[in-house]
Structures are given as C-alpha cells and as structure tokens.
C-alpha cells in the first residue's frame, strides 16, 4: 500500500536529501520544506522504499500537493 506524502502547509522545497529507490526507515526525513520562516522536515509515516519524488529543490507547493510516494 503506497503512502502518498503531501504538503501539510504552503511553502517551498528547501532541501531534498533522499533519492528515488532509497530505503527509508519510519519517520525518516524525506525533504525539508520552508514555510512560516521555519525549516520543516517532511517525514515518512512508515518504513519503505522511496518510489517517487514529485518535487525538487526550489519548487513552491501548496497544502495538499504531492511531495513523494513511499511503497
């Protein structure tokens, strides 16, 4: 069952420190969002493989935008 990681808040992608295909542990940071003058780590709820990164550094996102898919 794939987990869709979506933006919880409007912001911009500050840092993507993972790559597609990478194995992730539970609550691992997939990327960092900048919003409200803060750097907010975006984490995966479940352990799995990072199937797809839907954004890259510098992109702006709004609440609900797909950020990544974890398998």
């Amino acid at each position: 069952m794939a987990e869709e990681i979506r933006a919880e808040i409007v912001g911009s992608i500050l840092e993507v420190n993972t790559r597609e295909g990478q194995d992730l542990h539970q609550r691992q940071t997939v990327m960092v969002l900048e919003s409200m003058k803060m750097e907010i780590p975006v984490t995966t709820e479940y352990a799995g493989r990072l199937r797809r990164l839907a954004v890259q550094e510098g992109d702006t996102v709004i609440e609900g935008d797909l950020l990544a898919i974890v398998d």
Binding site: E8, I9, V10, R27, S35, M36, K37, M38, E39, I40, P41, T43, E63
Partner: protein, 461 residues
Amino acid sequence: MTAIVESNQTKSAPADRIRAMADPSTIVEQQHRDGAVWATATIQGVPSVLFTLDHRTRGGAMHEGNCALIVAAYQHALAHRLPIVGLWQSSGARMQDGVHSLHAVAKVFQVMILASGRVPQISVVLGPAAGGAAYGPALTDIVIMAPAARVFITGPTIIRDVTGEQIDDERLGGPGPHSNASGVTHLAADSQDHAFEQAAALVELLGAPGRCDAELAVDRPFSGLLPERSQRAYDIHPVIDRILDAPLIELQPGWARNVVTGIGRLGGGTVGVVANNPLRKGGCLDARSAEKSARFVRMCDSFGIPLVVLVDVPGYLPGVAEEWGGVVRRGAKLLHAFGEATVPRVTLILRKAYGGAYIAMNCRGLGADHVIAWPQAEVAVMGATAAVRLLHRRELAAEPDRATLEARLVEQHVRSAGGIAAAAELGVVDEIVHPDRTRHALALALAALPAARGSHGNIPL
C-alpha cells in the same frame, strides 16, 4: 434516528465484553434487559460502572427497555461519582417502535448530558454504531474505536440512494476516517482487546488521578531533543515523553496534528498535556487544532486534571481557507477554554511564542498559574525579521544593500527586545529554567497549586 447496517462480525456476548474490560472478580451485574446489561466493577482498581447493549439481538437496536437500563447505569454512576464506560455496538433506535424508541434514545442522551463533566464517560465502539448509537458515544468524553467499529449517522446504502456517492462502510465510518478526517474518535485500537486496555488505562488516569509529587519527578536531560538551528522544526513527542513519567496516551493523534493533546502522569499525578508540534505546519495554531485543544482543556478542567502546556508556536496559520473556515470563531474556543479553567495549569515556553498564538497557549493574561521559559525562548508580537520588515519597510525599500541593513536592524531589534528576561520583568514569565531542570520545575509548580476543578460540562466542541 435509524440506519440500515450489516449484521455484526464480532460474536462475543455482552457479559464477555464486560469481563474483558473490568477486573473480573469485582464484576457485579446490576440489571439485565433484553440482553443488555449494566454492572459495577473496578477497572484497574478504580470503582466504575459499565454498560453494554446486546448486539446479537436485532443488531443491538435501542428501545425503551435497553435505554432505560443505560439511564439506570448513569443514575448509579452519578449518585456515586463513578466513571462510566459504555460498550457500543448497535444499529441505533429500533425502527419498529417508531417514536417510542426515539424518545428512549433522547432520554439516554439527556442523562449523558447531565453527567457531562461530572463523571468521566468513555465509549468503546466495538462494531457498527449508527444513528442514535453514534450520538451516544459522541456525547461522551472519550471515544475509542476497535477495528470493526463503524460510526455514521446515515450509512452507505442511504447515501448512495440520496446523493449517488458510492462508499463502503469502513471508508465512510471506520476508525481510519474518524481518526484522520473527522476527529470523531480519540483512539483507534489495533484490536478489541487493545481497545479495552486503552479504555482501562484512561479510566485509571481520570478516575484515580492522584497528585503530582515533585520528589518523584526527577530531572532528565533535554539536550539533543531540539535541533541546533532555531528555525528547524522538530517533533514534540519525545519532549513530552521526556517530561512525563511514562509515554503519553495521546488523544486524536491523527487529527489536527499541529497540536498534541494527551494524558499521562507527572510525579505520579495525572496531567493533561497540550503541546504545539512544530513538525506539523510549523506548529502554527489553526481553526481545527484550536478546537481540538479547547475541548481537551475543558475535559481536563471538568475532572480536575492539571494542565501542562508546551509552547513553541510561530502564530496562526494564514490563508483564506482558515478565515472562511472560521479560525476566528473556533480559535475563540481555545481562548475561552483556558480563560475559564480553574484547574492548575502550567505553561512551558520552549522556543517561541508569537502574537495571538502566544495569548492562546495558556499565557499569564489568561490566568496561567505558572509560566516557565527556557533561556533562549522568545515571547514577542512576531519574529525579529518579520518585525523589522514591517517597522522599517520604507527604509529597507530605499536601501540598495537591503540584506546587510536588514541584518543590522534585526540584531538591534533583538538586543532592544531584551530576550526572555524582558518577558520575565514584565511578569508574563515567572521563571527561566534550564532545559535539564524542566521536569522538576514543572512538577514543583504543579505540586504547589491547590487542587481545583471547573464546574461546567464537557460539551463536545
């Protein structure tokens, strides 16, 4: 109020369910009516009342007989000031009895409402609980759903007929949607037994709260829990668990996650925790999290459960959706809840508390009993950068080397603001405490405060 539901999957008898919930040797069945039963028992040693309908008879439909039994259980709980646990699996009001059963269900609601805030009421939903059997649990303080729980007012069949929407009963009203979308359930258990365990743990915490003993709240190190960079968000859960004697029982963990609400013990006494979670939406307050917090604060206040409020909040979440969604109306609930609370309530400001969100998070002005702050904490109308950009916008607009000027102005601003010491001088912070002394400082504050409890109900906000 009726609904057409599939017949239940779980077959355990009502008496078995009560036995699974309570300390078995203490159960005294008080009354039976059409398979429904209410009993007195201890739950984790706490004298309590339990009731259950019989889901094996007409889907557990509610009618005069079994509703009168629930009312009797409540009257006993009220007379003896006992927590009351309802085990729910019912198709709602019995259709064949028409208005008689609606009337009976209404009388159950009435007694629950009269009991609201007087005795802790916990609902464990074990299967389908529709219509009247949805509003029953909804009127209680805490709703726990087992995996087979299905809660809704109108079910998939009627919805399909009226609106054309196609959805199965689990996606409509199972523990998943009620944990994450609606906020109807406080806890979604892994199994029926797990649901009983959680209910029992909460009865113990709410029914036998005890008092915080500061001697038992030995300090623990807090360094390393927060990131070095002050702009980096972090998960508040490890901080909460470091403060409490044992990990929190979090209520509504999947809903309005930007605030964490839950119950645990500090120094052996039950406390309710309300904490911003910077990892979610930067920790911003919004309409939903304010509403979630407000209800939780009022529940704790009703039962004399002291509050520990952990603050790291940059403000309210901006947006049209928030404004149209009623952040003004729903945020006011949190202001009211704290302002009204007479229970001991202690605040800890970890990193920042800005603007109206500072006010809403149990500040001195709203009657907090004791406000502690870490040395690097900031209490301000807004962050320094935002303030400088606002106050000096013309100057900055005219300046070719904006970045350097802004940096200088920010540094000036921070210096003249005076840090947390200025807030202490003003009297909105009582004590500046090194993080490693947090646990004991909170416990001392709580232990020094006389017990108190609000004299209001716990309306489901």
